[in-house]
Symmetry: C3
């Protein structure tokens, strides 16, 4: 009896894993997992197997079968506080302890799970989900089928101050935030509202947890931003970017389409050439890999330089 998808390392005797590469096949053999989806090329295996042309894809299908949608409290929960000027579609689910402020609209089939805050003048597009404690502070528009993670914060004031000679003074942030369709925002991720105009996140972007997106940032379509990435204010990013964890973008920077950044990469200036980059300030990934082999060897390099200097001195002192 198979009960659940599992990893090749699992100890679940009722789990079904997949294994394509040799090491994962070996792992599945020795782990406690019950059965394995394997490539068609595998002839014999000491456990029950399912042969498939593309085991990973088959496993993905299995995951879909076992997936369950997020919990919905259909209708408007009696504890929800909805401003009379807000408009809530009859098919939307407004969960316990949600607050929807004046002038906001909640589209068809939207799911606000619990403790969601939808501030003034916010618009949540059809089929979108807000997870517990998500905040749309104000002037935030979400497209269709967006997923906003727990305790994410959209629409907080951009971080703009100037020094008046005595103190830092906040520049009013009167703009908003606009997300396209199918944008996923991770837990505890922040996207600030613009100073003027709109911080604009195109269709299909995916943000992991604890990401920061500053005010007046513009991001194209279908980007992927791993955890703890920071994008400073007024930076513009093209389509299909992929950003590794803890990477950062300086402010007022322009980045083109099809750029891939390794974890911890730092973008300090214009970066228009498609390709993969690493390091801070970032450089082509091959250069970065070579630099990474040299840096820990620098003490040794210094010795070689000293040896050279000594030898030169000796040569120079030769008659």
């Amino acid at each position: 009896m198979i009960e659940a998808p599992a990893t090749s390392a699992s100890n679940n005797p009722r789990g079904l894993a997949f294994a394509e590469a040799k090491d994962y096949l070996a792992e599945a053999e020795t782990s406690g997992v019950g059965a394995v989806i394997v490539p068609e090329s595998v002839d014999s295996f000491p456990k029950p197997i399912l042969r498939h042309k593309r085991p990973r894809a088959a496993f993905g299908h299995l995951l879909h079968l076992f997936n369950r949608p997020y919990l919905r409290h259909d209708g408007v929960h009696p504890t929800a506080v909805v401003d009379p000027t807000a408009s809530v579609d009859a098919s939307a689910a407004i969960g316990p302890y949600c607050v929807v402020e004046a002038g906001s609209t909640i589209g068809a089939k939207v799911n606000l799970m619990a403790f969601c805050y939808v501030g003034e003048n916010c618009h949540v597009g059809e089929g979108s989900t807000l997870m517990p404690h998500a905040t749309l502070l104000r002037d935030v528009t979400l497209g269709k089928r967006c997923e906003i993670g727990p305790s994410a914060v959209l629409g907080h004031a951009g971080f703009g101050y100037y020094w008046d000679g005595e103190k830092q003074v906040h520049v009013p942030q009167v703009g908003g935030v606009e997300l396209g369709d199918h944008v996923d925002v991770g837990a505890l991720t922040a996207i600030d509202r613009a100073t003027a105009d709109t911080s604009r996140i195109g269709d299909g972007n995916k943000f992991d947890n604890l990401v920061q997106v500053g005010h007046n940032v513009t991001i194209g379509k279908h980007g992927v931003f791993a955890s703890q990435v920071g994008v400073a204010g007024s930076t513009t990013i093209g389509d299909r970017i992929m950003v590794g964890g803890q990477a950062g973008f300086a402010d007022h920077v322009t980045v083109g389409d099809d750029v891939i950044l390794a974890g911890r990469a730092g973008v300090m200036g214009e970066l228009m050439e498609p390709g993969m980059y690493g390091g801070a300030p970032c450089m082509p990934i091959r250069t970065f890999h070579r630099v990474n082999t040299i840096v820990p060897d620098l003490p040794n390099v210094m010795k070689r330089i000293k040896a050279l200097e000594k030898k030169i001195e000796e040569l120079e002192s030769k008659p």
Copy 2:
């Protein structure tokens, strides 16, 4: 008809932008923005313009005109849970689903927007705002006109553990947090309470989102901390510091007045000299910039060293 402030890149025909430098003037010319505030020196422009000595300042004034204050639910919302021993000023606004615990005081004109948690023995100074889901866990004192962002957490236990030979044991954190006046704390930012005494944040400090300030940290006045900065425990920072995104301070470090840190800078030891620094461990910014031109060239540098070694060998082997 002008309806809103806008950026020079805006496509809003009813937007009013400002442009000082040449490239922004060029951008405003080709974008869809309706009108532009320009320097007095600009004679002709293909769009309606307003001439001003300082376009940026004029635009700042415009932003103030268009700014609207955060939403207030005047009085104590019927859903708020306020402990009978807490003291709430009659002019304060306690929004829906706020909790105010025993012994706390809420000053005049304070605004708790929604879902705010004000724990035991917390004091919120006159005119301060707590945004949705903000938490003052306990023993937190805010000065006047502070703004605490959505899901910010003040007063969580400092991260102090010791190894007892078998496990990590938490050192009780019995101190508090104290903010001066006009301190802004961004969304999802944490300021921990002290082991003993107080984590002390002086007047006028501004923190962006996702910043961490550890226990027993002391910060002077008027500092600016960009997103994702981390300040480890017991570190002391002077006045008017400016800290770029993702920078970090080690614990038990002392930093003087008027220090500026580039993004991702790392302060590992005492840093008393005013000036700008970059890198980790940080160095004067000019040195950092020069280092940044050398690092990606290291593979090349290694070739030059190898060439030198070969040439020396040849010279040495000469009779």
Copy 3:
């Protein structure tokens, strides 16, 4: 009269501090602190003193005496929303505005402070505490006496996407999260649920604020993770790890027991040898320290290389 534990730098005349090293003794002498616990070797001191073999341990005892437990609202608060299929132990405290969803169990003496979200199929072990706005999204199991900080998020979907040729598609994340006993999770920290199986955090691990732990991560026992650390998906970590602030682990990496990582260290590949490491990619700490003295000197190193090249040229051009 002594009223509170204090630091040696405190200005509290009713504070009792400890001082072991010379500089702290000097600090305590000149600060406003009322009295000091000092080593037995200290003969005279200008303030009231308590002599003790181990002042730090004595101070730790003092902290325990002054510590007070987190606030509990005994019983189920009338504003709590508890699903009829959830099971809540009679000795548990469910505070104001907590939501407990279907199929969840809340163990003996558990404390949900306020605004806690316990999603479907979550299990909170005996004596655990959830602080305000903590979220267990779904399929999360906590052991005994865990402490989950304010706005921490456990059980959010792992960040797994694949490109289908047109857009990023989310891989369903059908697994859960399991914490052992005595695990502390800081404020605003995220631990994602697994794609399949379980993200597994062993007994006694301690996480600071703003930490990210990805899907299918496995961590042994008694680790300590400082603030803003990121652990990417499917990484496996051994026992007793200590991780400095802002450090990061790549995905699918294996780390052994008794590894110590300096702040900002980056683990990019297997790391099985116990010891201390720094840098990114990380290297033994002694190497790292030497590299750190060379890097800011690189402009100078380049000058030395140029000088060598010139001298070689001169030598070569000699007849």
